[in-house]
């Protein structure tokens, strides 16, 4: 066995990220490592590569117990990591990037000829014939990835960890990458392949290790793990089920408010169609990397749409920037509150009225009286638990922060609210409260497009669910057809025959 990690536990500030997780890799095998966000994949990998130290457990590499304290040690031992964002120096040449920090020297000077020849030789083993003196930035993502892999190979890596290597590649490039992985296998190198696209996992991986909630929940040869079972292992089951909040009977003929047809941009969103009707919660489901957030950004005008149409209340619309979408009454509560939502040091009052300030002006100055009215109204309506409206928002719990963000958008009086993972990082009680709130807003006429990874949530509140797989909407399930089994089977959907990958 090449790598054996056993009983790995790790806690951050008292919160367990890994609970006795395990990972085993044989030489020359491709091991798929899968799991939802927060399942512990990246923590496990970072412990292996010396970025984090483990609290408990043992790691053996090549038969010897190891304990790396920094990435350079793991690299020296023969473990290389190809990060998602491909860590190379973009303006330096291909040859330099392959040899950086280990340049071949002659009389103390860099031996340019040896470096060029070496780079050409190693790239040739991957059937890549490029001018190695051009800067890395000159080449496409797949080639850059190959350069990063070539760098790992020249470092004599025995195990290469690839973190979502296909996330920015098109189909042809994926095929090239897979050929490269097969070449690596032939020379005895093992690969840990972190990915979410099921077709790709089945095409290239020998075995799979599935993680959930910081634990290893299943491992098996790829051929003995049906897709449905894999998805079920990944998603698991929320312990406390929510009670159903949506009316079970199908309410027909509610007017269409927002219709997206065949939307696409780049490789993340290929072909998405979905409807949001008046006064309903339309769910958007799919595995990580299926293009849910990217779809939301397209609708909101945050990214440019390359294909397809958006109709808002029957009229065809093009949103070049979020301000356009907002003018049409569309709001977006983003997934990561910390990054693009709240301004931590500002008060609840300021955070809540940030999007509203232009409308709150009286003679160019913020109308404090109206601001107070609005803030007080929403604090009461949404049940925000706070000491005063002037408390900094960072002092609130996750659920209450989410309510303030929700209020910010509600105060702009939207007709469509897109909300991305509304209950991420919120404790279970608050989750149910947020969902109830969304449901009552919908009942009052708001159209909600809710992105969620948690099936329970969708089952509880959604009037319909559109399922994305690999950037494509593969199914739309109305309320009467919604069930865990139906969602799972749609999510495990095979995105058409892609024989060239197999």
């Amino acid at each position: 066995m090449l790598l054996s990690m056993q009983g790995i536990s790790k806690a951050f500030a008292g919160v367990a990220a890994l609970k006795s997780a395990a990972l085993e890799v044989e030489p020359a095998e491709v091991m798929a490592l899968v799991g939802q966000n927060g399942a512990g994949k990246s923590t496990l990998i970072k412990i292996l590569t010396g970025v984090y130290r483990r609290d408990e457990g043992s790691v053996a590499f090549d038969g010897k117990a190891v304990d790396f304290t920094m990435p350079a040690e793991a690299q020296a031992a023969g473990i290389a990591t190809i990060y998602q964002e491909i860590n190379l120096a973009p303006q330096r040449s291909v040859a330099e990037n392959i040899y950086l920090s280990r340049e071949p020297k002659r009389f103390g000077l860099i031996d340019q000829t040896a470096m060029r020849r070496g780079a050409e030789a190693v790239l040739k083993t991957f059937n890549l014939d490029i001018d190695v003196e051009w800067p890395v930035a000159h080449f496409d993502a797949a080639t850059r990835q190959m350069v990063a892999i070539a760098r790992a190979v020249t470092q004599n890596a025995r195990l290469i960890i690839m973190d979502e290597p296909t996330s920015s590649l098109d189909e042809r490039e994926v095929a090239v990458l897979f050929e490269t992985i097969r070449t690596l296998k032939r020379s005895g190198v093992a690969v840990i392949f972190i990915g979410h696209r099921l077709d790709e996992l089945y095409a290239i991986c020998d075995r799979v290790t599935i993680m959930r909630d910081g634990q290893t929940v299943a491992k098996s040869p790829m051929t003995e793990m049906p897709k449905m079972a894999l998805v079920r292992h990944m998603l698991g089951k929320e312990l406390a089920a929510f009670q159903a909040m949506a009316p079970d009977e199908d309410v027909p003929d509610r007017p269409l408010r927002l219709a997206v047809e065949n939307a696409g941009a780049g490789v993340r969103v290929r072909d998405v169609s979905l409807d949001v009707r008046e006064g309903e919660i339309s769910g958007l489901a799919g595995l990580l990397g299926s293009g849910r957030t990217e779809t939301a950004r397209l609708i909101f005008g945050a990214d440019a749409m390359q294909r397809g149409t958006i109709r808002m209340e029957g009229r065809e619309r093009t949103y070049h920037e979020p301000a356009d979408a907002m003018a049409d009454g569309i709001g977006l509560v983003s997934e990561d509150r910390k990054i693009d939502g709240i301004v931590p040091d500002m008060s609840i009052r300021e955070n809540m009225t940030l999007a509203l300030l232009p409308k709150l002006k009286k003679a160019g100055i913020v109308d404090r009286i109206r601001q107070d009215e609005i803030v007080t109204r929403y604090i009461r309506a949404l049940g925000v638990k706070c000491a005063s409206p002037d408390q900094p928002i960072k002092e609130l719990s996750g659920g209450n922060q989410q309510k303030v963000l929700l209020a910010r958008w509600l105060a702009t009086d939207p007709r469509v609210l897109i909300i991305d993972e509304p209950t991420r990082g919120i404790d279970i009680g608050a989750k149910s409260e947020i969902l109830k709130l969304l449901r009552s807003l919908a009942d009052a006429g708001l159209s909600v497009l809710m992105i969620s990874s948690e099936l329970e949530e969708l089952l509880a509140v959604a009037d319909r669910v559109t399922v994305l797989s690999d950037g494509t909407s593969v199914a739309t399930l109305p309320r009467k057809d919604l069930s865990e089994a139906a969602l799972l089977s749609a999510m495990a959907h095979q995105a058409g025959p892609s024989g060239d990958l197999a």
Partner: protein, 327 residues
């Protein structure tokens, strides 16, 4: 591609910008030679080189700093302080003056390196602080006036004499540029400096010693500024605590005109020299234009014109880049 042609290959918009600055320099020389009688006279050429060598030295250090994605605002203050230190030490031995001036520069550079790499303060702020400190120290040491150098120990030879028909400062600058080119293009550390400017975090993940390399760059910049201060004192016969104001900006301008990106990760020693010479040449040509008697531009106007020139170059570079990128 043929091996001989390799160095001239245009592989990025930056290469194009560098070719541009060299062509512009040649064009300006041609313009001067055709328009003014004494432009190519040995007197003009030699005094041009003698005076501008110290600026070229500072620009060289600045180029390395900017390639890492940093900035060194302290070089002007450092040169002023070093000129005072060199003048104070010059009576004991000419070499004492030289080494003391360089040591003063090295000390400021080491302080910059410490603040930036160990205390994690942004280079702009760190070197702004040491700039003020260096000016102050120079004024304190000089007691707020010029400090005459010793004319007996041969200290003035460094700035005022010739060797093989060329001014000694020009030889020193030439040697520094050859060394700088060797370091940047031929030694691993040069490639590491470029890679760090391309992305510090990435460079660290690739196993480069980021802190140590950055420290070396700031120390080199300080030492070169110290050497420029020595030249200043030697050439004008006095340590000048109030000189050096705006030198850092001239150096930054030279580097930028030489096609080095302020964002780091790319740059060339040769083009930096061309950039420094180009900016100095604008000044020189204005002097000649004044000499023709048709117009009379004060020194203030020369600054305005240099500024306008710099703006034109930067805008052209930006245009070139966007076009190159979009094709």
């Amino acid at each position: 591609m043929h091996t001989l042609l390799r160095p001239f290959a245009i592989k990025s918009s930056v290469d194009l910008a560098r070719l541009g600055v060299i062509l512009a320099l040649l064009g300006l020389i041609l313009f001067g030679a055709l328009r003014y009688d004494n432009f190519v006279s040995s007197y003009n050429i030699l005094s041009f080189l003698r005076y501008n060598s110290m600026f070229a030295l500072i620009a060289l250090g600045m180029a390395f700093v900017i390639i890492t994605g940093g900035i060194d605002l302290s070089v002007g203050g450092t040169a002023a302080m070093a000129s005072v230190v060199a003048a104070l030490f010059s009576p004991s031995h000419w070499a004492a003056g030289l080494l003391a001036g360089m040591a003063a520069g090295l000390a400021v550079g080491a302080l910059n390196a410490f603040i930036i790499t160990k205390m994690r303060i942004q280079p702009f702020i760190a070197t702004l602080a040491t700039m003020l400190a260096a000016y102050g120290t120079g004024l304190l040491l000089a007691d707020n006036q010029s400090v005459s150098v010793s004319y007996d120990t041969g200290f003035t030879i460094i700035g005022q004499d010739d060797f093989l028909g060329f001014p000694i400062p020009a030889w020193i600058a030439l040697a520094a540029y050859i060394l700088g080119w060797l370091v940047l293009e031929k030694l691993p550390i040069g490639r590491h400096i470029l890679a760090i400017g391309d992305g510090e975090a990435t460079a660290g993940l690739m196993g480069l010693k980021v802190e140590r390399t950055l420290a070396a760059v700031y120390i080199a910049s300080g030492t070169l500024a110290g050497l420029a201060g020595v030249m200043l004192a030697s050439q004008f016969g006095a340590g000048q605590p109030t000189e050096g104001v705006g030198w850092e900006l001239f150096a930054i301008a030279s580097v930028v005109v030489g096609g080095t990106l302020l964002t780091g990760g790319s740059g060339s020693v040769g083009a930096t020299l061309a950039g420094a010479l180009l900016l100095a040449m604008v000044f020189n040509i204005l002097n000649f234009e004044n000499g023709l008697g048709w117009i009379s531009l004060s020194a203030y106007w020369q600054s305005v014109i240099r500024g306008a020139f710099l703006l034109v170059v930067v805008v052209l570079q930006a245009k070139l880049m966007t076009r190159h990128r979009s094709t």
